[in-house]
């Protein structure tokens, strides 16, 4: 029977369409895989089903009844369990305490710890035999924490279990144990929804597959009847091939190497990254979300004190250990989350635009307002920032214009390398075009170099001269100008070998 049916679900986040009519059916005892590129809507749909978001339109029917949950806890009580990537564990408590948290049973007047431990031990042993459930969660590795999170959801005995990228932090052996558990649960009638970016996993464990693109599901494959063809799956994810020939005249305008990075390492997040960036080049960083791209941007901007890296800018050796050092060498960052990282929301546009100048050395005590105002007006013109004057709080601007302010504040200093961390996220089409127009013009005109990370692969394909694909902290592929296409990019992101079409493990 159908445990869950989602019909025509729509969801907007402040003007950006995340879901535009998504459908999903989950049947008892079946493992349904959700696949799609970044921003395709699969995560949003999962969260709506689990009660974390409310849909703007559409209907969710659980066990035959139409439901609308106000929070995940309500959904959990009804039997819908979800395992997120952002863990909801209490680090100071032990494994078994976390697994029963919120649902502890009592023996008489005190807590029944014995039963709790027994229950936890059972589930943990299935996933990771030998893990001591008396350990506190802060002592665990990320993989072990993920296991506890899974154990917590499973022990609530859900009828529908949603696993959102549960294997991201796990090693192969742990994944195998997880799959064994999933098959057990499915056999006992639980419906499971499973997302993963590793194509080989999806093909191995799922009974059927629903593929998302642009907020809708575009294909459903039932592995009982259909064949498991990786090429076909990738084709559905990327959509029909409109091989637009983008006139990239990089060969003419790109100059010598501007920035050369060698052996960049940071903990377990960035591994042995090396690349060269030429003058006047737009180098893209792609790949699935969360593979280390934003961390790489932060690292290049000098944010990590313990970064180990050989960096040279215009043949001069530099250290990228403090933001100030990067900035003085002309490397500036437009951060990913503009409200949190890039702006002072309550301050005026003017204050935001001039801020980096204040931190630089050898500045006068009094702010030369007249001079700065002229410069800000010029910047506002160049970037076409639409605001009711320079003195309005920057929080009143639209997302696109806010982003222009974030870029604008660097314009009066010499920028050699502009790091853009997902600049067009959540921005309307008009502002997006303005933004990229300006960037391309600057690049071609002044020889500024750009490193662009975008979660939307189309942007990367359209604007980049070269494209590096990251996977789990490594650069797995660098696509040269003539190799750049959406299909190639996605294939590289999922580690699907181009020749054979088979997923590489």
């Amino acid at each position: 029977m159908n445990i869950l049916e989602a019909k025509n679900v729509r969801k907007n986040f402040g003007g950006v369409v995340a879901l535009s009519g998504a459908n999903l059916t989950c049947r008892e005892g079946r493992i349904t895989g959700l696949l799609g590129a970044n921003g395709s809507g699969k995560s949003t749909l999962s969260k709506i089903i689990a009660g974390a978001y409310a849909p703007d339109a559409g209907e969710i029917a659980y066990l035959g009844k139409v439901v609308r949950y106000r929070n995940p806890y309500e959904a959990k009580k009804q039997g819908i369990g979800m395992v997120y990537q952002n863990l909801s564990l209490v680090a100071e408590l032990t494994i078994w305490q976390n697994i029963v948290l919120g649902d502890e049973t009592r023996k008489g007047y005190s807590l029944d710890d014995k039963a709790a431990k027994k229950k936890s031990a059972e589930i943990v042993q299935k996933l990771l035999p030998g893990l001591d459930i008396d350990k506190k969660v802060y002592e665990l590795t990320p993989g072990e924490m993920q296991i506890v999170e899974i154990g917590k959801a499973v022990s609530a005995k859900p009828r529908l279990l949603i696993l959102d990228e549960p294997t991201a932090a796990l090693e192969e052996a742990q994944v195998k144990s997880l799959f064994k558990l999933m098959r057990e649960l499915a056999a006992s009638g639980v419906a499971i929804v499973f997302t993963s970016h590793r194509l080989w996993e999806v093909m191995e464990i799922c009974d059927d597959l629903t593929i998302f693109r642009n907020g809708q599901n575009v294909a459903s494959l039932d592995f009982d009847k259909d064949e498991k063809d990786a090429r076909e799956i990738v084709f559905h994810i990327t959509g029909s091939q409109k091989e637009t020939a983008i006139a990239k005249n990089c060969a003419q305008t790109c100059g010598d190497t501007r920035l050369s990075i060698g052996s960049l390492n940071f903990g377990t997040v960035l591994k042995n990254i090396s690349f060269d960036l030429r003058k006047g080049e737009i180098l893209g960083i792609g790949g699935l979300a969360g593979q280390g791209q934003q961390e790489l941007m932060l690292a290049l901007a000098g944010n990590f004190r313990n970064l180990s890296c050989d960096a040279k800018i215009d043949d001069k050796k530099i250290k990228l250990t403090k933001p100030g050092k990067a900035i003085r060498n002309g490397i500036v960052l437009v951060p990913g989350d503009r409200e949190v990282e890039g702006l002072f929301p309550r301050h005026s546009v003017f204050s935001n635009l001039i801020f980096p100048k204040l931190g630089m050395k050898r500045q006068s005590l009094f702010i030369p307002r007249k001079q700065y105002r002229k410069e800000c007006e010029r910047i506002t013109d160049i970037l076409a920032i639409k605001a009711a004057g320079l003195d309005v709080p920057v929080s009143t601007l639209s997302g696109g214009n806010q982003q222009k302010v974030v870029i604008g504040k660097w314009l009066t200093s010499e920028i050699k390398v502009l790091l853009l961390s997902d600049p067009a996220k959540g921005i309307d089409v008009g502002a997006k075009m303005d933004l990229y127009d300006y960037i391309v013009k600057e690049v071609r005109g002044t020889g500024m170099s750009v490193i662009l990370y975008a979660s939307d692969i189309k942007e990367l394909v359209e604007f980049c001269d070269r494209l590096m694909i990251m996977y789990e902290g490594n650069i797995v592929r660098i696509l040269e100008t003539d190799e750049i296409s959406e299909e190639n990019a996605i294939r590289a992101s999922m580690c699907v070998d181009e020749g054979s079409g088979e997923p590489v493990k």
Binding site: G324, L358, A387
Partner: protein
Amino acid sequence: MSLQKSFQAASANSFFVKYKKLIIAALLILFLFLLGEVTVSNFLSIGQILLTIKLSSFIALFGLCQMIVIAAGGGGLDLSVGYTATATAVLTASMMDGKNENLWIALLVALGIGLLVGAANGLLTAYVKLPPLVVTMAMSQIIQGGINVYTAGKNITGKPSPVLQIIAARTSGPIPNIMFLLIALTVIVMVFLYKTRLGALLFGVGANPVAAHLSGVDVKKIRSISYVVSGVLASLIGLLLLGNMGLAFKDMGSNYVMPSIAAAVVGGVPLTGGDGNYLGVVLGAIFLQTLTNLLVALGWGDAGKWTGFGIVLFLLLIVYVSNRRKR
């Protein structure tokens, strides 16, 4: 859509919204004066008003220390201002001994004490990352202990130099001199905060330390400096306290600490940092002093003062700070 946005922007900019908190503070003061006039006669008179302003000056001065530390963000507060001032007063009283010649030495000593205390506070909060309220409270106790050790067994002697007395205690005609100081200070502070680059950096660091850091600004350094400034200011206020009282005693400054924080909250300084209008703090100080006068006039004395302060602060915290979970 764009018309709506520009309209929003225009009204966001309008006088009333921008100075909302100042207006509220001024209204509160007016309310109290009216209340006083109704319940106690002669409450609303020029003499009374001037006296209130004089008494509230010290709260306003200490409030400046708080404002600077709060504006730098990170939950900053400085509870050590009271005893820093006291320590300076105690140490310099015998140094000056009623003469003007040694005023310069006293100033240097004040500077030294302020720098020492401020640097310690700054280091412990910004670099060791200990909670500011607990650190400055403990520091306050350490200074108090220091004073105890210094004065153990002997009386505190000495008198302030006449210059200090003139500024702090005397009047020019009907107007207390300290009011001139306060007005001058308000102007200087506002200029500093809004027209200089240091002020802009301070507010930036408090408003969004992450954005400030990514723009190349050393957040920890600026936060430490804010405590040093607070400490030095507190020390100098100690000299003024000495001038006002005519002598130094062990509890000189401690009664001002809580009101200084309350004045900042009443004056609309957001406790999370990033913004602040010193005029608001001054109004807040006047409000608190008026409240005290009213309670004293009603015969409720010390008890009423503290209860009143506590309740006012708590209510304002609910209005300005409370962050009910929106799910």
